[in-house]
Amino acid sequence: MTDVAEMETPGRSAAERRWENDPVLSVEHLTMRFGGLVAVGDLSFDVGRGDITALIGPNGAGKTTVFNCVTGFYKPTEGRIVMRHGVGRQDNTVQEVTASGRRFKHEEDQGVFLLERMADHEITHKARVARTFQNIRLFGGMTVLENLLVAQHNPLVVASGFSFGGILGLPSYSRAEKAAIDKAAYWLERTNLIDRADDPAADLPYGAQRRLEVARAMCTEPRLLCLDEPAAGLNPRESTDLNALLKFICEEHDTSVLLIEHDMGVVMEISDHIVVLDYGVKISDGDPENVKSDPKVIAAYLGVEEEDEIDIPEVREDVAEQVGESTPASSPSKEAKPASGSKSKTAGKTKTNAKTSGAPTRTRKTTKSGTGKGGAS
């Protein structure tokens, strides 16, 4: 927790740190190495209960790796990932479970789950963490409705008497299936897909597929929903709808949201809390206002490597112009523009630089305008 303290900018109120007092998920000292490559280095952050938390950073910053660790697709090299049901940090229980060597402790509505010890399907089934994927993964050959029923697999298996009752055609299963269909229909209404319920998922347009993935994840009744770039490829209208959907999920369904997103419009508008990663380490952590003005964040987003410097004058002017515009008063979405514009520049360099990612200080020459304005704001 020490590095979190280091990073805290002065002037944060206690209300702003509510995610530290009541986190649904705590990532503690998470490190993930692939061979010699450190994708995530000693990362710690909290996801507040009921919050929408955004994980942002340039391409290759290790965001999806964090997701894969949280949802059990990767086993972290080091670190602890704690998922909590019920209110408060429950520090005693966490310590008890950690020391006992068990994977989780769960009773009634309270529970502590050490995700790094659990298998991916257990994480969804027991710890109730659901996720979506950057490159949508639907069951394309199955209908929209079937997709949502597959998501309710575990309760339905129990209802079908582990298939034995189902084969014999017991009525209890048909009742359970009916309830499952109703729940699916509810989410289809919410995501505006009810008319396409009997179409194969692969037939849906792109935006609808993204919504269906969210609906499918919600059918697992998650306490934490992890969304990997949910707005990627959406048009502005779809993007707005998505924002509304996420807010609805958060407010009405006792579900916290952790999302990776490049679209700063979405991030700034809906997030309660933002964590910024660069080269696998956290460079900023706070509410949107604080993060937006954090010089490290601006440097990370606008920074350009020396050898990578762009010599096309139009582009440089473009960046300068947009950065120049971004006064604190300007709208968040506008300010985000240069960030997404410079994404490709940093992205190209991530791989070669990844080796040094553990080091806190890196030599990074920013464009003139970037440094000037970034330092000033």
Binding site: T64, N68, F73, Y74, F133
Partner: protein
Amino acid sequence: MDYFLQQLINGLTLGSIYGLIAIGYTMVYGIIGMINFAHGDIFMIGAFISLALFLLVTSVLGFAFLPVVLLIVIVIAMLFTSAWGWTVERLAYRPLRGSFRLAPLITAIGMSIALQNFVQITQGARVKPLPPQIQGGITLMEGSTAAGDIVVRLSYMQIIIIVTTVVLMAGFSLLISRTSLGRAQRACEQDRKMAALLGVNVDRTISLTFVMGAALAAVAGLMFLLFYGVIDFYIGFLAGIKAFTAAVLGGIGSLPGAMLGGLLIGLIEVFWSGYFTVEYKDVAAFSILAIVLIFLPSGLLGKPEVEKV
């Protein structure tokens, strides 16, 4: 020790034959990602063509000088077997390119069944024994111990097999690494669509891959014929699976891997038969296949595949 040495030599010989077949599997898998199930049968056809040619050249045309005979047989058998390799690809695989991956696997099995039965019908089901053509060898070790006489021999046949394999391998590696064909092949392995966009004739490159694989299988067929002296229409199945095992063991897609895998499978099989039981030698080969695929799916020299989420 002597027994061990003799088995070692025998194993290397058998391994060379497997290696030559394995190259066909590994190249095809590398370039279009399918198991060419019919490749073992191409090897069998190569053996039959070699047999017919051998008899034609020696008894009908009357050549007697063995090196010349072998040279003629090798060259012509390679040509004719290549035609089979090309035809199989053209008929059974090319129409399904870009289709679902199960489809070419089924056509490959169908082709394998068809080729076996074709040869069974046209050449008969009985085994064809060819009397040993190349006699003699070098005695590496001789003497007698308390346990009995010991003789370790390296026959001329084994020398020919090993030397031919080494020469072909070297030539082949050069072909892949130096020529434009090899470059086209490697490009197709990486990304077929992009290669096509850059002007590589993908269909022709794939065809040539099958042709080269078949040519090497023909050489393996001839070696098998000369070394064992017995062939039948069914030899392709087992040899094919073992060669595929070799390709997987070495790391599929890697030429040196195929050769290394071939040698290892040959050695394992020979030592297993020599020290344990002959009956279960195929079980040994199959078990290795299963174990390698389960625990080391990228093989000894292959590149590991990372699961993307």
